[in-house]
């Protein structure tokens, strides 16, 4: 178990290096001059050259990459071209905000998805299955920005129960754990949760159906276990795969849904990425992509280790 975890950690090293290389290359492969957004259109060549030197864009790519990598390892992701603030701080704040709705959304999605999945899998072919499966299909296929707007119209505009946008009263960005702030979480998190809910429900349904059809279920009944005891075995068999799916979903959501964060004006990574792209803010874009990618890698690592703890067959594989 421990050796497996250690091995798995070592395996992520080349992945992380690859990820950083791709992050760096992507931005430089994209067409357009990174300085266009900071310079006035009539800026002289001398000023252009001066800025190129200042940002280090005049150096060869490998040198730029190494400098960027060495600084990144030390936690310095450069300065945002647009705001002049350190990129790391901006990302840190955005990641924190996204983490909140992503975690809440994954939690809601996991609870509902697992529930629907078990109901559908246990009562396959019945109307309960059809109802639960319909909820799952709705989850994966409804356009969530549209769902977000509908929820805003119903719960914010018409009923007035919840605030429509932002992460705090009056657009304030200082997060506090009190009801005034927490109520801003609910609508974006619920909107975001329908995706993992649908995917997890479908996965769990297929898993439950498959496990129930296996011979060992008859074996468990044959030794006298009541249905509740059999259910316990089904849960442990379903857990590794559904947790893996949940982890991957959390990874996707951490990238921040650009659409959902835009609808709710939620100051997370999606919104940050959106701004960075449209304003050609290279250091911010690189940094954000890098941090999100590393998050994804780390999350997969955690999921794999968890999974091997639950399913003894994985360690040997």
């Amino acid at each position: 178990m421990f050796t497996y975890a250690a091995k798995r950690v070592l395996m992520t090293m080349p992945i992380m290096i690859g990820v950083s290389l791709v992050c760096f290359a992507l931005v430089h492969l994209a067409p357009g001059d990174p300085l266009i957004s900071v310079l006035p259109p009539d800026a002289s060549q001398a000023i252009k050259d001066q800025l190129m030197v200042l940002y280090g864009f005049d150096r060869p790519y490998y040198e730029q990459f190494l400098r960027w990598l060495v600084r990144a390892v030390q936690g310095d992701l450069g300065t945002s071209i647009r705001t002049g603030r350190p990129v790391a701080a901006e990302i840190f704040k955005a990641v924190g905000n996204t983490l909140m709705i992503a975690t809440l959304a994954t939690f809601i999605g996991f609870v509902l998805g697992t529930f629907f999945g078990f109901v559908a899998g246990y009562f396959r072919g019945s109307w309960l299955d059809k109802l639960a499966s319909a909820a799952a299909v709705f989850g994966v296929s409804v356009p969530h920005y549209w769902l977000g707007m509908i929820l805003v119209i119903v719960f914010a505009v018409q009923l007035g129960w919840l605030p429509p946008t932002g992460a705090g009263p009056g657009g304030s960005e200082d997060w506090r754990w009190n009801w005034v702030h927490v109520q801003h979480l609910i609508l974006p998190a619920v909107t975001m949760s329908v995706i993992p809910m649908g995917i997890i429900a479908r996965t769990v349904r297929a898993l439950v159906a498959e496990i129930l059809s296996q011979e060992f279920i008859a074996g468990l009944r044959a030794k006298g276990l009541p249905e509740l005891g059999v259910f316990r075995h089904v849960v442990k068999n379903v857990a590794p795969t559904s947790l893996a799916v949940m982890g991957i979903q959390l990874g996707y959501l951490l990238g921040g849904s650009i659409l959902i964060e835009t609808v709710f004006a939620w100051p997370g990574t999606g919104l940050l990425l959106n701004d960075a792209i449209f304003q050609r803010d290279l250091p911010l874009l690189q940094g954000t992509i890098l941090v999100l990618a590393l998050f994804f890698v780390a999350l997969n690592l955690v999921v794999d280790v968890f999974q091997s703890a639950l399913d003894p067959r994985i360690q040997r594989a």
Partner: protein, 339 residues
């Protein structure tokens, strides 16, 4: 409970129909069978003959929604058909327990063998976990698993096929069931391991005086373990009798055919193995008469009209056939098959 002669297993006119498909399938079509205390009966038949369905019916393992069960099953006086809820799960594993064909598939892959056996013991006995573990360890020793203490903490996939089947046997016997059901317990194993498991089962049976219903399609295995053999065809027991009677003087044409298909060491290479012509009938569309009539060389008109009743052809030896007079071998004639 009228004293000595109460059988451990008593099945009367069992019918099992699967109703889940487009047409109901008559998997078991009127089976009568009883097993005395300490007796081993082999249920012999080819795939789809209803032998495993009969076995699973005794534990009521078929999904209730898609199965219609009729007839009577008593295990040591317990009316199995009348059991519901907790009484049924109390019965499973304790009244009768089962060894499955493929232990790799019949054991939960994410629990250790020890956990699975302890779980079964705790389900039926009011004892502590450590006491249950001691009991499980004891059974691991009795089924001759080497280094049993360590093996209790291994997962099914970490053991060889033979060891897994030994663990399965330990699991089945852990609560001292009155009746042991074995569903082709050696079929999924290598030939050499098959022999070991068979010997183990025979030794345990003698040592513990187990009553056992042993399903197999292998005549050799049936001869090895059983006191009596019941031959099944298309959901009916077509012939039943002592191993000696059924093998030496089979009286049902199907049994005759089955025995003549056994390969012998002296057969010349290049010669085809004899087979029974045709194939078993569609269980969703059984003929009104004898199900074997269409493949039977001796079939007469009477065979196709009504299902033949069991005919007593010797002491404790019955065949469901109207032409038993023709299948009787004159005394002293050379045996068609060597037993």
């Amino acid at each position: 409970m009228t004293g000595v002669a109460e059988p451990v297993l008593d099945i009367r006119n069992l019918r099992v129909t699967f109703t889940g498909g487009a047409k109901p399938v008559n998997a078991v079509d009127g089976v009568d069978l009883s097993i005395e205390r300490g007796e081993v009966v082999a249920l012999l038949g080819e795939s789809g003959s209803g032998k495993s369905v009969t076995l699973r019916s005794i534990l009521r393992l078929h999904p209730a929604k898609r199965t219609r069960m009729e007839g009577a099953i008593h295990v040591a006086g317990t009316n199995v058909m009348a059991l519901e809820g907790g009484a049924l799960t109390d019965f499973r594993g304790k009244g009768a327990s089962m060894i499955f064909q493929e232990p790799m598939l019949a054991l939960d892959p994410v629990y250790t063998l020890g956990e699975q056996i302890i779980e079964a013991i705790l389900r039926h006995e009011n004892i502590s976990t450590s006491e249950a573990r001691r009991r499980a360890l004891d059974w691991f020793e009795r089924v001759r698993i080497p280094s049993p203490e360590r093996r209790l903490d291994t997962y099914p996939h970490e053991m060889s096929g033979g060891m897994r089947q030994r663990a399965m046997i330990a699991l089945a016997l852990a609560c001292n069931p009155k009746l042991l059901l074995a569903d082709e317990p050696t079929t999924a194993l290598d030939a050499t391991v098959q022999v070991q498991i068979l010997l183990l089962l025979r030794d345990l049976q003698r040592e513990l005086g187990l009553s056992m219903l042993f399903v197999t399609h292998d005549i050799g295995v049936a001869v090895e373990v059983a006191d009596r053999i019941a031959v099944m065809y298309a959901g009916r027991i077509v012939e039943i009798g002592s191993v000696r009677d059924v093998i030496r003087s089979p009286r049902h044409p199907y049994t005759l055919g089955l025995l003549s298909t056994r390969p012998h060491g002296g057969r010349l290479s290049g010669n085809r193995l004899p087979t029974i012509p045709g194939s078993p009938p569609d269980l969703a569309n059984l003929p009104p008469g004898c199900a074997f009539a269409m493949r039977c060389a001796l079939a007469a008109d009477a065979c196709r009209i009504a299902a033949p009743e069991a005919v007593e052809v010797g002491p404790g030896h019955q065949a469901r056939c109207v032409r038993t007079a023709e299948t009787a071998r004159p005394a002293g004639a050379p045996a068609g098959v060597s037993a």
